[in-house]
Each structure stands twice: as C-alpha cells, then as structure tokens.
C-alpha cells in the first residue's frame, strides 16, 4: 500500500486527517495543535492541499499515538458544523448503522 505521504493529494473541498488511536483503536481526528481528538468538531479542517499534506505528514510521524492516518472529506454546514463527507466516515464517526445485538433478558 502506498504511504499517505507518497499519495498525490487531491482535494475538492474541506478535509480532516483521521486515524485510529493506538491503545484502543478508537476513531480520532488530528487537531490543529498537533493533538488528537475523538470529536470531529475539534479537528483541524482545511481545503488547502498543502496544509492537508502537512497535517498528514505530522500525523504519520506521530506513530505512537495513532495508526493509519489519512485525509478524509468533510462537509461544513452553513453554521459551520463539521460533518463526515461520505458514508464510510459517517459510520466511523457515529458507529454502525444497525442496532448492536440485544440481550435477550435471560
């Protein structure tokens, strides 16, 4: 697989950098201050390919805290809310679209 640093970055709109947290695999987003957050609204959002490249480069270097960083699309609502840009990212953000198995009350 091509490293995210070697991939040509094409951006058609706002993006964030996302990954999974090393210790528990939770979905995390890169913050502007170089930290990670589980809250999408705290993520660094950019529509600039150069900035996105810098964000993902720094994220890749942060191998101790996050696994497999990549650039993911987001959308911005009129009031500035950040939302996942596709179904995969929506599911990563909010979890499976199905109910998890229920307990049958034994």
């Amino acid at each position: 697989m091509t490293s995210p640093l070697q991939q040509k970055i094409k951006i058609n709109g706002p993006v964030v950098v996302t990954a999974n947290r090393v210790g528990d695999g939770a979905v995390v987003y890169r913050r502007a201050d170089g930290g990670w957050t589980t809250e999408l609204h705290d993520a660094a959002v950019t529509a600039d390919a150069g900035v996105a490249r810098e964000l993902v480069s720094a994220a890749v270097a942060d191998d101790l805290r996050a696994v497999g960083p990549y650039i993911a699309p987001v959308t911005l609502t009129r009031d500035g809310e950040v939302r996942p840009g596709n179904l995969r990212e929506l599911i990563r953000r909010h979890g499976p679209t199905i109910d998890l198995p229920v307990t049958f009350g034994i």
């Binding site: 210790g23 528990d24 696994v67 599911i91 198995p101 307990t103």
Partner: protein, 552 residues
C-alpha cells in the same frame, strides 16, 4: 471433542507471553506500527473502522461448552457483549482494545483457543462439515484428518510466508456441507472401487475478484500420503505462486494460468521426491490423534419416540421447527439440531454473551457438552436425544435461536460489511435485515423452500456471494451504494458460480429485487417441489432478469 496435549498447551501459552511483550513494546513506542502490524496479524488482530478486531480460530468448527462460555466471557469482559461467527468457522470480536488483547488471549489460551494463523499469508483455520462425526452420510470423521493437517501446518516455517493466504477444507460425506470447491485446497474423503478410503484432492478454488471453483487434480489419494501430498501442493504454490501482484497471488490464479493438468504434474514431481519419506503417515500417529477425539457415551435409544410424535402433533410451531432445524443423526434416537443465528431483523452470525452462555448450558444438558459452528454462520448441537427435543426447543426459543428458517430465504450469509469492515465498499448487514423483514411470513418462506442468499459488501467476497442461489455484491458508484445481483450459485457437491443478471441496483431497491426474483420463481417453477436453484438451472437467468429490470 479433541483433547489438546501438553505440546499444544505450551505452544498457545508461550504465544500469549510473546504477544503480551509485543503489545507492551508497541504501546511504549519501541515498535512502530509497521513493525507491529505483521506480529498482530499473526495472532488474528486486525484494525477495522471503529476499533481493533480479534479473530479467534475454532478448528473444524468444534467447541466444548467450556470454550463457548469463554467466548461469552471475552465478549462480555473485553468487547460489547457479543461476537460474530464467520463463514470460516471463526469468531470475530469487533470492539477489542489493544491494551486488553493479551489478557483476552490468555483467557482464550486457558481453554486451548487462540488466533494463530487466522490472518496472514499462511494456512488458515482448517474447516469442515459442522456435522462431522454425526452425519449419517459420512464415511469417517473428517475432523481427524483436519487435525492431522492442522498439526503439520501450524507454525510450519516453510509455509508461514506463502504468496497469499491458504484455506483448506476437509469433507467426508456424499453431500458437501463444507463448501469444498471454493477453497484453495479441499480434501474429500471417499472410498474407491476396492473399498479403500482415500481423498479426492481439489485445488485452486476461491472467490474474491477472480472466482474459481477448485479443480480435481487427484481423484484418489491414499490416506497415508495426505501430508506429503499437501506439502507438495504447498511447495509448488510457494515456488510458482506470484508475489508481485496481490490480486494474482492466490493459488487459484496459478492453477488457472498453468492449467490444472500442468499444475498437477508439478505437484506430482515434487510429491514423488517426498512421498516415502518421514511425511508418510505412520498409523501410530493417526491412532494417537484419532484417539484424542472423544465421542459421547451414547445411550441405546429408539428412533421417533412416541412423546416426540405427540409433541409434533400438538404444537404446530414445534412441528415447524422440527421439520426445518432438526436433522438425522447417524445413531437411532439422536438428532442434530441447528440453532439459527438469523432472527428476523438480526445480524447474521451474531450471538450475545447471554445467548452463548445459555447455549453452553443447553449443550451440557442435551448435547454432551458439544457445540458446532457452521460456515453458514449458524450453530449446531450435534448429539441431542430425540426425546429431549421438545424441551430443548422451548429453551432455544426463549433465547432467540429457534427461528425455523434454516436453509430458507432468511437464513442469509453476510459479511460484516461497511458497518465494521475497513475493506468494504457498502453495507451488507442492513440489506440482510431488510430481506428478513420482507420474508417474515413463515408460510411464504416455506413456500419458497430452500433458497440461499449470500451478501458481500465488497469484491473480497467474505459473504460468499458468488455461490449464493441469490448473490448480492455491494459496489460503490460515485459515493453511493449499489448492488450487483447474481443467480444460480451454489457451494455444495455440484458447486457453481452465479450469473450476473444485469446492472447494479441502488441500496433502497435490493429487497424489492429479491421479492421480484422470488415472485418470478413461484411463477416459473414447474412443480411446487422444484427448488429455486433448479428452476434457475432449467430456465437460465433471463426470465428473472426480465422480471427485475422490466419494472426499473
């Protein structure tokens, strides 16, 4: 049950200690992800959309009640209270934390379970018929052979870095319940004209983006030669299989490109050089391994006890379940019971910790403490006295695993799809759930008869869509979920790959399409007992295609 020896226990325990150290080094930063990834994969640890995923092997689909309770414990203690049984007789946990994985593995090791060789380019969990040892049409218990091969290939240094993963299945019945032809290597035990027992050897099956059915390269292999012949196949694959292109690295591509005959010739040459060496099976080794399989102390019972007949007459729901989920056992007075993990609106193959605990208790009470896992993602109690069936049914019904839909339209095989899987293009579970709701009328499901729907959320085909009577494959088009439909696939002794009926349909239309196909079948079949798959075989897919696309 197979009873592990000290060597097995030591191997599993040492692996836990090794992995604990590797995890500690990863968490401390001593190991990078690039260094750690191959190590975690060797233990069945993947990273999926939401979390790490742990895949644990259930060799030849056989579980003791103690092991099933451990599956429940791990689900409850380390995950979110459930597990997912896969099409390869494994279980997967989707919410495991890396920090806790060594403890989970240690708990598994305490009952002889592990995740070794459930990932990576090695020989994976060896699967077989979930009715092994109890099926009336079986000539010998195939698990003994699966275990012999398993012991040989486990941590075999020569086969730990194959060009790609390698899946083996073993069968020993006239009716194939192990989907032999879709495996890289399949061994079918049968008798030759002289009454000797040997294997038909099939190679090069597999689904994914380039599906092939395995081809027979040897129609009769003496059982003494099984290890040397398997070794010769693996060596041939190791030597000639492609490593430059992941999409062409499976043995099926090699067999296809070389031709089965030429491939067999290469295997034969290699085999001749090793067949009379140390790999020739020593009968004492066979006896030792066979002796580690313990069989229940069955009672002498009569078939069809009067109380059972009475219960069937007096309760139509019980009678429907009996007709659907209970199969003949090789011994009189006993039965094989399939537990459906496909409730209406549920996730195919999922079981909660509470269900697993309850099933373990029922196995102790009614099935000599033994449970089986089938590739159709259902469970099975293999040794139930027929007189106990009414009581067992009530208990199974109370925990939601007695839906009488085994082999019917709502007994859907499905991969986890985009709800969990990082490889998936589309969701598959919600499609399965919607179809079960559309066909919730049990009379309609019975009217349709045997009908297998298999769903995969991407071309990797973990949901075996190519061999579904109706196959559903998710593809992404411009960011939207679309689904290709195939008809006429099957994974039994007459295995076939399905035929694509036309352009992919959008997510919202898939269940409608399945309803259209079902309605077309009712109209097209010549007799009520002509199965769906036989109607498709007779008519081809055209009339179904017309029905599906005329309305769209």
């Amino acid at each position: 049950m197979y009873i592990y020896d000290d060597l097995d226990r030591t191997l599993v325990t040492e692996r836990v200690a090794e992995f604990r150290d590797q995890v500690a080094r990863r968490l401390s930063g001593e190991l990078t992800e690039d260094e750690f990834k191959p190590l975690r994969l060797m233990n069945g640890v993947y990273l999926q959309l939401h979390a790490y995923m742990l895949r644990t092997s259930i060799p030849y689909g056989t579980l003791s009640s103690a092991q099933l309770r451990m599956l429940a414990h791990v689900a409850r203690r380390y995950d979110r209270g459930y597990g997912h049984f896969t099409t390869r007789q494994n279980i997967q946990y989707h919410w495991i934390k890396l920090e806790e994985l060594p403890d989970a593995m240690a708990d598994f090791a305490s009952v002889g379970m592990h995740g070794m060789q459930t990932s990576g380019n090695c020989v994976r969990n060896i699967t077989t018929d979930q009715w092994a040892g109890v099926a009336p049409d079986e000539i010998e218990d195939p698990r003994i052979w699966a275990e012999i091969v398993r012991q040989h290939v486990t941590l075999h240094p020569e086969f730990s870095f194959l060009p790609r993963k390698f899946k083996i299945a073993v069968g020993a019945s006239s009716h194939d319940r192990a989907a032999l032809r879709i495996h890289d290597l399949a061994l079918r035990l049968h008798r030759n004209g002289a009454g000797e027992t040997g294997f038909e050897v099939m190679v090069g099956g597999g689904l994914g983006r380039t599906p092939y059915l395995a081809k027979t390269i040897k129609s009769f292999l003496h059982t003494r030669d099984v290890l040397s012949y398997v070794e010769a196949i693996l060596r041939t694959y190791n030597s000639f299989g492609r490593r430059d292109n992941i999409y062409k690295a499976r043995i099926k591509i090699l067999v296809h490109e070389l031709g089965a005959e030429a491939f067999a010739k290469e295997v034969e040459t290699e085999w001749q050089s090793i067949k009379d060496g140390p790999l020739a099976l020593d009968p004492a080794v066979f006896d030792e391994i066979a002796g580690r399989f313990r069989y229940p102390a069955y009672a002498r019972l009569d078939d069809n006890p009067k109380a059972l007949a009475h219960a069937r007459r007096s309760d139509p729901l019980f009678d429907a379940w009996m007709g659907n989920s209970v199969a003949n056992h090789k011994l009189p007075g006993y039965a094989i019971v399939t537990l459906s993990l496909k409730p209406e609106g549920g996730t195919p193959g999922d079981a909660t910790a509470e269900q697993m605990d309850a099933i373990a208790d029922l196995a102790d009470r009614y099935s000599f403490g033994e449970i089986r896992v089938g590739h159709e993602q259902n469970l099975c109690l293999p040794h139930v006295a027929q007189r106990d069936l009414p009581e067992l049914w009530r208990a199974l019904d109370a925990i939601g695993v007695a839906t009488p839909n085994v082999g019917l339209v709502s007994d859907i095989i499905s991969c986890p799809g985009l709800d969990y899987c990082s490889l998936a293009n589309t969701r598959s579970i919600p499609i399965a759930q919607e179809i079960t709701r559309r066909f919730h009328d049990r009379d309609l499901a019975r009217e349709l008869g045997r009908l297998h729907i298999n769903i995969s959320g991407c071309i990797n085909a973990c949901g075996h869509h190519h061999v579904g009577h109706i196959g559903i494959l998710g593809v992404e088009k411009n960011g939207e979920e679309f689904f290709q439909i195939t008809l006429g696939g099957k994974a039994d002794e007459d295995a076939k790959l399905g035929t694509l009926i036309g352009p992919a349909v959008p997510y919202a239309q898939v269940a409608d399409v399945v309803e259209d196909i079902a309605a077309a079948y009712i109209e097209l079949r010549e007799r009520p007992d002509e199965l769906f798959i036989d109607t498709v075989k007779r008519t081809g897919v055209e009339p179904f295609k017309e029905r599906v696309y005329a309305a769209r």
